[in-house]
Amino acid sequence: MSKRKNSKQAWKDTAIPRRPLLWLAAALLFTLPPMFDNLASWVPLLFLFALMLKFWMEPRGYRLRSNILKLILAAVTVGAIFLSYETLKGIEPSVSLLAVLVSLKILEAHSAREFRVVVMMAWVLCLCGFLLSQDLAIALCLFVAFALLIAALIQFHSGSSPGAFWLPLATTFKLLAQAAPLVVLLFLLFPRISTGFWPRIGDRRTAKTGFSDRLSPGSIAALANSTDVAFRAEFPDRRAGPLGPMYWRGLVMWQSDGMEWRAPYAPTSISDSSRRYPASDKAIRQRITIAPHGERWMFALDRPFGIPSGAKLARGDYLYSIQPIRKPRRYEVLSSIEPIEKGLDAYEHREALQLPASISPAVRDFAASLVAHDPEPRAIVNSALQFFRTQGFSYSLSPGEYKKNDLEEFLFRRRTGFCEHYAASFATLMRLAGIPARVVVGYLGGEYNDLGGFFLVHQADTHAWCEVWFPGNGWTRVDPTSVVAPGRASQDLSSFLAGRVASGEMATGQSAFITQLARLAVLNQVRSIWEALNYQWDTRVMGFDADVQDVLLTSLGLTNSEPVRLVMQVLIVIAAVLIIYAGWMQLRTRPRADQIQTLYKRFCQKLARVGVQRVPWEGPSDFATRAAQALPNESRRVRQITETYIALRYAPEPAAANLREFAKAVNAFGARSGD
């Protein structure tokens, strides 16, 4: 009661001290990176501005006081959020709203309670950061912010005590170290009950990277500079990957528009019962951790035939997930290096020859000339590849714009393109020549990480190639890009491009310095360590969801059927750990028993046993005189012990040797008089 009265009286004068404010500001800065990546850029800028303004205002005693002004500012910012997102629903506008409110709260805060409220709002900002991005770098930033917020609270509550920098940090580390085992326990065992009321997030944001179900000219070239990771692959049965280029099959496109191809909107699943199991030496087992992309594509080496749980095999032998992939997911899949033979039914045959009506006569004539030259399908394929090889086609990241009907323009005039141009035009050409063909989109290559023993496949490795149907062999992979740019298939895109830039075949927008820097061995090693850490984070932490937990609990013999019981058990363990902590800390800080006093007490007890009781108010020398009178035999010893005791206890610097003698004398006294 009195506290409230006092704070009301003094509300004009309270200010948040500078030191906790600095900690808080540092923590808030670490919550910014995910915002800069995902929100309208003015939101984090406003946040930064509010923070700086607070440091200007606080020493001057200014703060946001007027309620009307607060309301106006809140209304203006909500309006601005609506203008930049055109909605207030969804995760980005909500996080923006929260960030803006925190900015206003910072300007307003001045009391202890408000300081704690701002700290807790900042924790919610950390939560929002995790909803926006689950990358390891962002996660590290957010955990740093989390720890700095604890330090801010500690600094705030320790007032002006000395140790401005190390004290809060050391205490924070102590708290975190004590909390760590409990976090692991809770993380592994606390039941993950799914509440599905909130709209799941992720579509709009994650679809920015990765390819789409439509292969249009330029769509893959746009990804060539992306450094995002698409997935990681391990080969559990062998250390290195398969020999030869790694074609990761993504999805198969059947529908041709000339230069543009499309995959069926809803993949038709096929059962794998009819397929023949390949010989074990031709099968490669892969463990793949896929980065969330919000769609249903899954990747595997060409061609997958085992089906991981939660996935299906679509017509065209590619995997797709039953649920959209919104968090890192790990699966194991078996692939066959050999083409899987299978018949082509009439429907598929018809579909594999479908063509748009808008193909120009020049292209049709060219296809006809290929057939006329040699009607055998392999010969047609070879002469078409020969055409790409010899007619001055070039491989370029920026081939200029093509429309979906620009097949003629590409084949006969500009003759420059990226993999999607070659794959699309080649497949269309084959169909014109009467050979069933389709386009496959996926990834090519991958960067090997020594430390983690896995391959890293980036979005930049996105690739498109063709498959043609040969009556005897079934669907056969043909990669027209490899004809134009022979090195591409054997390495990932970035090293391929780097090699081309180095040999002067390609111009690049990056300066030579950065290119050089990127090739430094040290940096590569750092990068490789970072990727290994990233992998561990994604597989061990981000991959530990309710399903994995279920497996763990079952293997531990704790079935997840009774979450309440499990929670109780976890809580009991936590309480026990807390009691142990408290006991341990108490032991470490309890005042040390005074050794001299203990010995003297023992001496008094011994005297009491032989009938001389010391009264509480009796001084040691008075007691000694009385005891000496009562026990004349022991009078010399009693006096001596008492003198040593007084010397030890009250002399300015008692020697350690005296203490030992004193102990000896007290012990000997007991033995002698006990007889």
Partner: protein, 306 residues
Amino acid sequence: MKAGKFSLLYPTGSFVVLLFVLGAMWYAASSQNSPAVYLLLFGLTTVFLVSIPHTLLNLADVTIAPESAKAAFAGEEISLPVEIMNCSRATHRGIDLLLPASGGERKRIDYIPAGKTARVTLRFPAKQRGEHRIGTFRLTSIYPLGFIRVLKKFASSQTYLVYPKPAGDPRLPAHRTRSPHSRPQTELGEGDDFAGVRAYVPGESQRHIDWRAVARGQPLMTKQFAAEAEGSVHLDFSALRFHDVEERVSQLALWVIEAERARRPYSLRLPNTDIAPGVGEAHFHRCLRELSLFSHGEGAAAKAEA
């Protein structure tokens, strides 16, 4: 000083907000099935849980020893110096000391190193004359995180004295006895001629404080003026004509101060007490003490007996 048997732990207001935040985190984690958010949720929960023993032990082996409080006049402020001893081997931080019975405000001790003592002075208003119990000290701390408060109570039987509020007519009563053989002497008091300075007596009027000396950094001094010699003063409770006891006590207190300031011997007569004439610090405090403890019921009874 004897502490209560247990330290009490209870949540602070911020704890409610923390629960809300944890609830939001849990909801987000479970609806998004996001391990990272679970990690954050468990991190915050366990850091809070682990902070509880830290808060609890922040008052372990801390004890307090109040010094004696100086008496003050009603309406003034009592200041009570208190020593807080940290007998443990750890530094304690962020401790609040509160004396709720006396309505004082909380005193903050930021820092007591291991084995050391901190000294704070509690100030609270002296409301009513008489002897009052200090009551129970409350030592609290919310260090380190501020979501849990630990409370340790220290009951104290110590008392403090509040002198009556001086009020009424500052002129000393005219009724006086002058011994016939006393020679005329110069008394210092309310006269016109400046006769030097002496130490300020708490409670007396501030009109004659030598403010210029105070400005030079010297202690409070009262300027004295020579007046006509006067004899000793008899202050008699029953001689006052007011009806109200408190009014009479206040008047007597004012006279005690005025007489002390004038260095005139004064005697005090209350229905059950009689203090012989005298002057000086000890006499002054003795008279004021009697006045502050005086209760009329007792006095009446004593009179009836006599």
